[in-house]
Subunit: 209 residues, 2 copies
Amino acid sequence: MSRSRENYHHGQLREALITAADEILHESGIEGFSLRKAAARAGVSPGAPAHHFKSVTGLLTAVAVLTLDELSERMRAVSTDLPLAAQVRELASVYVRYSMEYPGRLQVTYRRAIVDRSDPEFMRSSGEAFGQFFASAARYHGVPHPSRESASQMHPQLLLDYATVQGMALTAVEGNWRFIVSHDDPQGDFLRRILPMLVEARWPDKPAA
Amino acid sequence: MSRSRENYHHGQLREALITAADEILHESGIEGFSLRKAAARAGVSPGAPAHHFKSVTGLLTAVAVLTLDELSERMRAVSTDLPLAAQVRELASVYVRYSMEYPGRLQVTYRRAIVDRSDPEFMRSSGEAFGQFFASAARYHGVPHPSRESASQMHPQLLLDYATVQGMALTAVEGNWRFIVSHDDPQGDFLRRILPMLVEARWPDKPAA
């Protein structure tokens, strides 16, 4: 551990810790994570994270927010010129592909008791990421667009869409598509062959009105 | 720790360790699990599990097999007199309800690197549990019934069914239906109101041929 690295400017240590956490999660998944390891990788003393994050939950919540914000950004990059069915398929695929790229991050945003889900930033970023998907999916199904206020009355097809997206992503991240994918290149085979089949089965093209 | 409890008959210690592991998982989830804790709860020395299970993976694989066998049993109890759509909805619901009853067990069978998925008993029990579901779902969709040999060519609708069931269960177990369920009684509200809506949206009744 280099002493000089203790001299972070205000804000930089926070960033450095988030980056360190993200790298550890990327390499080892959530099972390999600890606040101590994050501090070591950021080059600061084991107690340093406490200045910025009250707990491991605080740090992981920051990673979750970063994750969801990146997801939103990738979703915003999906062309709105695509036909609606293709748009929904692409938004769902973006989520699954991102999850496979950063399995540790998905686990952080997903697993119970790891992040503080009542954190305002978490709620904002989570609402933004899934809001984009739900907005397109509602138009696809021709059902009411859910708002934060009407969430408890969300249309069953949108709830099913949510379950489907999470099921595809979590099954991919935990390696549970093994029974269908090629053993030589499971990830590549899933992305090229299975994922397009799944999203096409759930959101097929609709005949023009 | 009681010395007398070290005197298990052959086979009994194995059972006692599985039971202990199951109880710890039920109470604390996978994050709270260790081989040492399982040994302590079974009342044996920390090294005792090694006689029966080479590793924590060996013990958790046994828990996964027990889980999948219990699931199969509950699925076999679903009446075949039900109309086909209702049968599929009920098989899917059995899986989700069982997962919510034993969240630790679901995590064990589901998470990467926790169990030995190439273990012959795991493959058998997993094939049996999902085989029942896939058989009914294939009849529901009117698509070929998948066999172990034809698994790599499984029909997209069946893969989608699998993603849906896993997504519903994992989202429930990790508490991620929060945005839709009542805060007073999230589990009860999910089971009574949301789960029936989800399975009805995925597997609606079909008009009689």
